[in-house]
């Protein structure tokens, strides 16, 4: 134990100084302000952590700085909103999505197929591009004609803002009937399937290392058949499923929305890694350009689909009550009234923002920690962060771990987005600022250290919220009678300042490893 202290003297000392600073500065604050600010800090810290931890896992194992991580966080929020507020749209999307993805599950089959094709060398070069082009054209042709219930950005009455408001009031719309009037259903389904098969086959031709794959078994086709099945089932039972979700208790629907956002993020991450990131592993500059590009494209897509104006996501009813018994005075009265706020030590605390989010943050922290420390995958990740080559030399398919970690990292970000949507609101810019906070948190905590990501996020959250609070009540400098009022620009500046100071003392951050 004593060697532990000696070895970690510097980070510990730094941490103690920071804590003392907080406590000293908090002297000028009454207890209810202190509790609220602390909890708000925890909340911001938890959301930052969900972005930072995924970013750091990806960077640690894959050496990829995924600058699209903030945008993916934002996309998570919008996906969560869609499932929660417009479950009918979500259900309409399931069929085309399942069909579009189905082809990508045939990766073991394609190499054998391409070995059978006898073509001249130049034709072999052109083939993948031709397939992808045909697939893309077909996609552009079919998708807009596929009926998906949605909203209308140009019409306020049918805009996301309005739907959000109505959902918050507990009004859910009868599902607008979805009609195939521009294309026959069979043609639409067949078309999308073809898009997927051609596109994924084309892409597979680029991946030379996919050859020499194992014998085909039923497993090679299983996921394909399952996805196809899902596509058809959701098509046939579209109305039933929509009505089921609309009739569902809003808490459950919210839960489903968060899960869907997380899983979509994981799927998106896996897809990103397999198609875009993988060819660029030895070219870090191009990775940066790619992820920045993806980030910009993501923002554009969100603007085009959900519009520019900000809107709120309603809270699940469990956290949305405002009846006579509110604010709740203790947790049992909160449980009865489902109050949105609760009185803690005299402070009025928002249950969803300031209690639920930190709790989920801690649960995720523990879950991922267990994954890293107690599972074989975690072992592969920890070893791979240090020496990928050696892991491979042990006969372990590191590439699969890469895909899983990318999926996990992006899934954590979209989970964060969906969770934060009811407290932050949805805006096209919500990802940028969060990515910045996450990067600062990682620089403070240590770029590839998982506990470091947690500690850094916590500090960033606390400092931000305390600074905001000091901006209102003033900060009394310890041992003097001076009172300082930080102006708004000080808030982001304070975390950057802390980062600079810590990096000057500890170049690898508080818990980072020395290289």
């Amino acid at each position: 134990m004593s060697t532990f202290f000696r070895k970690n003297l510097l980070p510990l000392a730094t941490l103690i100084v920071i804590i003392i600073f907080f406590l000293a500065a908090a002297q000028g604050m009454n207890s209810q302000d202190f509790v609220i600010t602390l909890l708000r800090g925890l909340s911001v810290g938890a959301v930052t952590f969900l972005v930072a931890s995924g970013f750091s896992l990806i960077f640690g194992l894959l050496d990829v700085l995924n600058l699209a991580h903030g945008t993916l966080f934002m996309i998570g929020a919008y996906i969560g909103w869609t499932v929660f507020v417009r479950p009918d749209t979500f259900v309409d999307l399931l069929t085309p999505l399942a069909l579009a993805l189905s082809g990508f599950t045939l990766r073991d089959v394609y190499p054998l197929l391409s070995d059978r094709i006898r073509l001249s060398l130049s034709m072999k070069r052109i083939l993948p591009w031709a397939l992808i082009l045909v697939s893309a054209l077909l996609f552009i042709l079919v998708l807009p004609r596929y009926p998906i219930a949605g909203w209308n950005l140009d019409n306020y009455a049918q805009s996301p803002v309005t739907y959000s408001y109505m959902a918050d009031q507990g009004t859910r719309l009868p599902p607008p009937t979805v009609a195939f009037d521009q294309i026959s259903p069979a043609l639409a389904i067949g078309g999308l399937l073809l898009v997927s098969l051609l596109g994924s086959f084309g892409l597979s031709l680029f991946d030379q290392s996919a050859r020499r794959s194992p014998q085909l078994t039923w497993r090679s086709y299983a996921s394909f058949v399952i996805l196809l099945f899902i596509g058809l089932i959701t098509f046939i039972f579209n109305d039933a499923l929509t009505n089921f979700l609309l009739g569902l208790n809003a808490n459950w629907l919210f839960f489903i929305a968060v899960i869907v956002a997380t899983l979509s993020g994981a799927g998106l991450g896996a897809l990103m890694e397999m198609t875009l990131i993988r060819p660029l592993y030895s070219r870090p500059i191009y990775q940066l350009m790619l992820t920045i590009g993806l980030s910009a494209i993501g923002v554009q897509i969100v603007q085009a689909v959900w519009g520019r104006p900000e809107f709120i996501m309603p809270k699940p009813t469990l956290f949305n009550g405002s009846g006579a018994s509110c604010p709740a005075t203790n947790f049992s009265s909160w449980w009865q009234g489902n109050c949105s706020t609760i009185l803690l030590l005299g402070g009025r605390v928002r249950v969803y923002n300031e209690i639920l989010i930190p709790i989920i943050g801690v649960l995720v922290l523990i879950a991922v920690w267990i994954l890293l420390q107690r599972t074989r995958l975690g072992m592969i990740i920890r070893a791979g962060v240090q020496d990928r080559e050696m892991v491979e030399a042990l006969g372990i398919n590191v590439r699969r771990a890469f895909t899983i970690v990318f999926a996990l990292g992006v899934g954590l970000a979209t989970l964060g987005g969906a969770l934060a949507a009811p407290s932050m609101g949805l805006s096209n810019a919500m990802g940028e600022s969060l990515l910045l906070d996450a990067l600062i948190a990682l620089a403070i905590g240590g770029l590839t250290s998982y506990p470091g990501a947690a500690l850094g996020s916590l500090l960033v959250g606390l400092i931000q919220q305390f600074m905001i609070q000091y901006g209102q009540i003033g900060i009394s400098i310890p041992f003097t009678s001076l009172v300082l009022k930080p102006t708004p620009p000080i808030v982001p500046a304070s975390t950057v300042l802390l980062m600079v100071i810590i990096l000057l003392i500890l170049p690898n951050g508080l818990l980072g490893k020395k290289e």
Binding site: R212, M390, E392, L394, G395, K513
Partner: protein, 234 residues
């Protein structure tokens, strides 16, 4: 005699550097074959090229009668190669036990091989819960070799096992490698000619990325001029 590994005229590039420019290595099954050569000759790169970690651009690597060049390195390794790299590459964030468990290729490998490994390296048993960081150089080398023994490997590629170790520990390593060669084939990269000559039956000398000479170790030992010329040792 049966050849377990046959490296035929491989050329390997690292970045734009043409590192290996024609290396041939034939490894008879059950033997210890030493790769010799001066610093920077390309011995490590040869091992890595066999494993596909630095895939050769030309030439063939035939393992158990199968051409493996161009295959993914984890697939090559999974055919039964244990790799003990230069500088050991112990995973610092993993405990000694986790370092060993990670090397499992089939579930239960570690439990099955544990006693065999601890017989060879009694020290490791005592250190089992410690993190990889806290091992001494000799202990790290033991762990690196032990790690290559967890899965059922019939070919061991061992890179400079004696590097930086005290003489007593070198003796121990040598006896272990000799014991291992009873069950598996060993390719040994060794700068210390005394160690190599005591262990190996065959040798291949690599010079500036080319294999320049190979044969029986006992013939080389008696050829002082060649030793001096190729290895700079007396």
């Amino acid at each position: 005699m049966q050849t377990i590994l046959d490296v035929q005229g491989i050329h390997t590039f690292i970045g734009q550097y043409h590192i290996l420019q024609g290396v041939d290595v034939r490894v008879p099954a059950g033997s210890i074959t030493a790769l010799l050569g001066r610093n920077g000759a390309g011995k490590t790169t040869t091992l890595k090229s066999i494993l596909g970690l630095t895939p050769p651009r030309q030439g063939k690597v035939i393992l158990d009668g199968r051409e493996v060049q161009g295959m993914r390195s984890f697939d090559i390794a999974a055919m039964g190669i244990g790799f003990v790299p230069e500088h050991r590459a112990i995973f610092r964030d993993l405990s000694v036990e986790e370092n060993l468990k990670l090397a499992e290729r089939a579930k239960g490998d570690y439990v099955r091989k544990r006693d065999f490994i601890f017989d060879l390296f009694p020290d490791l048993k005592r250190l089992i819960a410690l993190p990889g960081t806290s091992l001494s150089g000799g202990q790290q080398q033991m762990l690196a070799i032990a790690r290559a023994l967890v899965a059922d490997n019939n070919l061991l590629l061992i890179d400079e096992p004696s590097e930086g170790l005290a003489p007593v520990i070198i003796e121990h390593m040598m006896s272990v490698i000799r014991q291992l060669s009873a069950q598996s084939t060993v390719v040994l990269v060794e700068q210390n000619f005394l160690v190599a000559s005591k262990l190996a039956e065959y040798y291949v000398i690599i010079e500036e990325g080319r294999s320049v000479r190979s044969g029986m170790m006992k013939d080389l030992v008696s050829d002082k001029a060649a030793i001096h010329r190729y290895l700079g040792a007396a």
